[in-house]
Amino acid sequence: MTERTRIYSSYEKQLTPFSTSLVAEFRRTADAVGELMTDDELRQWADEGLELAKQSWRSWEAAGEYYRVTPQILPLLGNDGFQRWAKHGRELAELSSALAASFFRASPGTLPAVGPARMGDWMGLGRLLYKGTWRSASLAVQFFDGSPHLFDKLTIDEARVLVRFVDALCDRSYDLASHCLTIAPQALDPLEGDDRAAFLIFAEALASTGWADARSYLEKGPALLAHVQGVQRGRFLELARELARREGRQAFSFFAEAARALAQVDHETHGLLLSLAEDLVERSPLAAMEFLKTASTALDRIPVDTIADWHSVGSDLLDQSVDGGEAYFRMESSRGEQVLEALSSRVELSRVADILRMYGKALTGFDVAVHSSEALAEKGIGWVEGDAPSTEGSAIFLPPHVEEFTEKEQNFGVYKVYCTHQAGHLEFGTFEFLFEREGTIFPNLRFDAEKQRPAIAPTAPPIDSDGHVDAPGEATIPLHEPLTDMERFFDLFPDRKLASDLFAIVEDARIDVLIGQEYGGIRRPYGERQGRELDRRPVVDQLPLRQAFVENLVRASLGGLDRIVWPEQLLGLMADAVGVLETLRQPQATVEDSAEATLRMYRIANEIPNVAPELMDDWMQMEEDNLNVSPMTAESMGQDASAEMPQGEPMPYESPQPVDFRGEFKPETVQMLMKLRQQRNEQGQASPISPEQLRQMLEKSVEITLADMAEADLTQSSELFLANLIKELSQQQDQKPGQQKPMPLKDGQPVTGLSTEDDEHALPVEPKYFFYDEWDFRAGDYRPRWCRIVEYPVAEGTEEYYDQTLVKYASLVGQTRRQFELLRPEMYRKIKRLLDGEELDFDAVTDYAVERRARVTPNDKIYWRRNKIERDVSVAFLLDMSASTDEEIAKHERRYQQDDFDDDPRRYFSWWMARRAQELLMPPKRIIDVEKESIVLLIKALETIGDAYGIYGFSGYGRDNVEFYVVKDLEEGFSDHVKRRIDKIAPVRSTRMGPAIRHATTKLQAHDSKVRILFLVSDGRPQDHGYGRDRTEKEYAIHDTHQALMEAKRMGIVPFCLTVDRYGHDYLKQMCQDIGYEVVPDIESLPSRITTLYRQLTA
């Protein structure tokens, strides 16, 4: 037995009591590393393990790990290092053997990455997580176990931050901490370099404030961070951390939203945006984040170099008021909107549509609407471009916005040219083309062309003089007569596409010329536009020959005669065509002349084969002189093409590149639409057009490419098209009912409102939408277009309610009526002592004489006159229809009664039964019922006195759904409909008073009366979802309501608030500063009180 064997056996003996596996580990390792150690060292090593094993009852496991990993650690650390390592292990074992075990277990995997020098730090991190509880122990164990993987990715310093972060989470949830620790290596992997540390530092900040978001942050954060430009990530995180430190909870959502917003803008600008945000962060980290969030929206509208200007205004605002600045950057303030609008050079159609509409109306004299081209494309009736100007005969469609120039004025100019051109089509009768009508310039070739038309034409048969349709030869489907004159005209051409393009060119040219003649002032901007378009044209001598021909005509039509490039040998043809175009440039030219010109050009174009440009070698830039343009009207023109045509394989013809300002031009479709509209209006029924006819037109027409509209076969798409068409037509009809049918009359009175014609099948109620600003008292500014009012008429119930109420309050009704009758003023009142009047006032004259005698300066006011005094009052009653009005009035009193039962269940039960029975017989009265009764009485009284009145209710939920119910509109007369609607007044939801008041104010504003009153009846304070910073805040709602009332007052309306909330004084004092209000504590007295109040208010 050697010394070694002895040592071994002695230790084995000592280790045996702990665990046999421990002995086995010891033995295995000893065999492996024993050679490397001296006996002393061996003993020391073995003792170390023994000590570990002895430490606690499960510490032998740690010892086992210790022995097991020794062969890997020892060579790695050397003897000294090994000693330190073992010591660390023992320190951990003193805390928890599991900790030590995992430490040892992870060491072989971890230490190569961490390095011997930072070994202590590593151990320290694990120990930091241990708090003496089993949960903390298991977390620490998890840390050590995960360490090999973790340090694969992280440095020890980064890990330190991670551990601090996890540690901070431990205060909240160990599960969360543990989860975060698990996912950390993967999550952090995509990040690089310094980002990782910054990321973790923010995580740490987040852990202490918004710990619940920690997990999402770790999971999603790196991906979000990737949106930010690489070099700027650190700064971004720095900002986020500042926010977390100062604002707490919402840090993560701001981080996420800002990162996403930054993804929307050019990465190069991130630096600038972050600098601007950093400028704000000192004063308000929230504002800084809001700035980043909205920057992308702002940059959509303004160029990058002006964002600093927008920022600086907000920054100044922030100095004055933090809330104001934050609202500014949140884009929830009118000021922000104004500044943005001022900086933006982009012109939005929505902002100028009204101006353009009136402009178009002025030019054409028609009721043209102006809409976005997108709307036209969505209709699916043939138009596909969402941003090209166009018209469909009744409206002008323009691109949703223009931002071609850096100046707003110039961009508006673009709109103006677009609009003028489209209005020109309407004003100068493009769509009034009649096949039979003669032109004023060109002799008529159409009739001849129609007669000569080859029979193979795949179109409608020619019509002979007496309108008889010749049956086509072998056509299987019966061909219809052309629907429109335009269709008939295009039927003349075998190549419809070419004809359509040529017609567009000449007609647009005609319109441009007429506009130039009629509107001298727009000539210059118009010319500039044409010049711009010319610069954009494609290179001519790379187009096939026929297309080059058409392209040259486009250029000529834009006034670019000097831009024509054309083979010299075919000069004659070009000159002829341009000659035709020039001939058309006369003030008397009509659309029929355009048609004739098209016919002539088509003949020329038809001569020209569409061959590759390379076949011609004599392309040259034309001068006006060598083009030798002479007016061409001769019928023979184009016939004598003497030039040699190049021979070659013709290519398929393609339309020329569109001219932007002329937009989409579909004369055939427009004429068809106009015809349908007309027929519909005359006959008042569905269009007489058959799907079959329509399909044929679609097949023929080149204006509508069905493939663009729907991915379906022709029949289906044409059906879809037809459906869209019909829908479009009926919509237009609905929009102008007054023009097409007389107002329905009922009992000799025109009936307004929705329940008009027949009540059997009620028409679907189309709500109307209105937008209002809301006052943010913190920001001291309005939030633009913040609330959406949805206006509905109240559904109709029965008239009984109204009549019953009158019977119920018969005595009160009589009394009120007498009182109101007294209010009826005399028509004329004698006013005395005037400087001038009808007659001398004897009293005054006597005084005058006496004073004169007494040598006192006499009073000259010695006349009297009768002055007409008209009662001219309009009033809007605004009823609170919030859910709280559902409350029973009697509830309050009943509570007292309940105390009387002395816990005797039987007595209580019998009382309860009795009450139930009574309730079934007569339901308890609710606040809303009293409100309704009051309204009935008021109506009765108001009808006596003849004041104009409107009755409205309001409720809703949230800012985009403030419901505004119309019981009786101001303009509407009192009718049975109103009676029935009163029946249906019922509690709905919340109380957002501000927008309702504003809407009622607008209604009153439109009513021209001397005295206008807004009478608000409510049962409590204003409150709604989002009507304040949080659910409990009341200030915001009260301020907004107050502001709305003040707005009304400023417009000369007398607001008055009546509440049945007996505790209403608290907030009414604030809400109705400088405004009349009254609290009616006894709800039952509301009907009599409200009439009295009204009387006093208007007397």
Binding site: L356, M358, G365, E839
Partner: protein, 294 residues
């Protein structure tokens, strides 16, 4: 005692038209008026403001061979030197009372003196009495003219206990603008049906061109553009504008242009701003102006 105030002095503004007022007939209104005058039928002139109603009356007063005297409402009329036919114009307003038209007592020293109102004067002298914007006047005032407008041709002066018979030349002309008055201010039928009505509209473009060119002294090209502007802006009636632009305003614009103001500016001040306060409508009109004028 000289305590009487100056405003008791009845300052009289008076001018006599010695030259023929410029008037371009649109249709047969001159013949109609002459016929009505000969047959003593009262005339109602309907039409929007500034379309030439007053000018027409002036022209007719001249054409009927007499010099004209115009006074303001509530002021007395002193007859012209020549025994011409005066034209008494009263601009009606809502406080116009019967005594404003008929006359009243004034205090003079220690006694009172009766002063005839403009209507009485017109009746006595046989003038054309032109009540401008009659609907503005109180209804009790309008009734006053009833006995004058039928076969009786009498003016009762209740305070004096007199009845004045109208002299031969007297004819009553009233004007009213059916456009902007509300239903409340409509003319009573009992009043309406005592007059023959001549409707005035804005003149057609070529005629308006002539009028503008003559009145403003601008070239035909400018006048044409102004007339064109008038036509376009009138399309906006009921669509932002209560009333189309009047020929009068177009003439003002023309006059400004004549004086050297740039065309766009002249139209802005004389047309756009004069017509409306609505910023959007103003902008729309300005766009039309800038399309027409360079």
């Amino acid at each position: 005692m000289t305590t009487e105030s100056t405003y008791r002095q009845y300052a009289i503004e008076e001018y006599v038209v010695t030259t023929e007022p410029y008037y371009e007939p649109v249709s047969d209104e001159i013949e109609l008026f002459k016929a009505a005058y000969a047959e003593k039928i009262p005339v109602l002139l309907k039409g929007p403001t500034g379309c030439g109603k007053t000018r027409f009356v002036e022209y007719m007063a001249f054409m009927l061979g007499r010099p004209v005297t115009v006074t303001r409402e509530a002021d007395g009329v002193v007859q012209g030197e020549e025994s011409g036919m005066p034209l008494v114009t009263v601009a009606c307003h809502e406080d116009l009372t019967a005594s404003d038209l008929v006359g009243r007592y004034l205090l003079e020293g220690d006694s009172t003196r009766w002063v005839d109102g403009p209507l009485t004067r017109a009746v006595k002298t046989g003038a054309i009495c032109y009540l401008d914007e009659i609907v503005e006047a109180r209804k009790d005032t309008t009734v006053l003219v009833h006995p004058l407008t039928d076969h009786r041709r009498l003016l009762p002066i209740e305070k004096l206990g007199q009845i004045v018979e109208a002299r031969d030349g007297f004819v009553l002309v009233i004007s009213y603008n059916p456009g902007y008055q509300s239903a409340l201010k409509d003319l009573k039928h009992s009043t309406r049906q005592r007059f023959m009505a001549i409707e005035f509209g804005y003149p057609p473009r070529d005629l308006e061109l002539k009028i503008i060119a003559h009145e403003a002294g601008v070239s035909d090209a400018v006048a044409n553009d102004l007339a064109k502007l008038g036509e376009k802006v009138r399309h906006l009636k009921e669509h932002g504008l209560a009333e189309g632009v009047s020929t009068r305003l177009l003439i003002y614009a023309g006059k400004l242009i004549h004086e050297g103001i740039s065309a766009r500016r002249a139209c802005q001040v004389a047309v756009t701003w004069a017509l409306t306060d609505d910023a959007d409508v103003q902008r729309s009109i300005e766009e039309v102006v800038s399309s027409i004028f360079e």
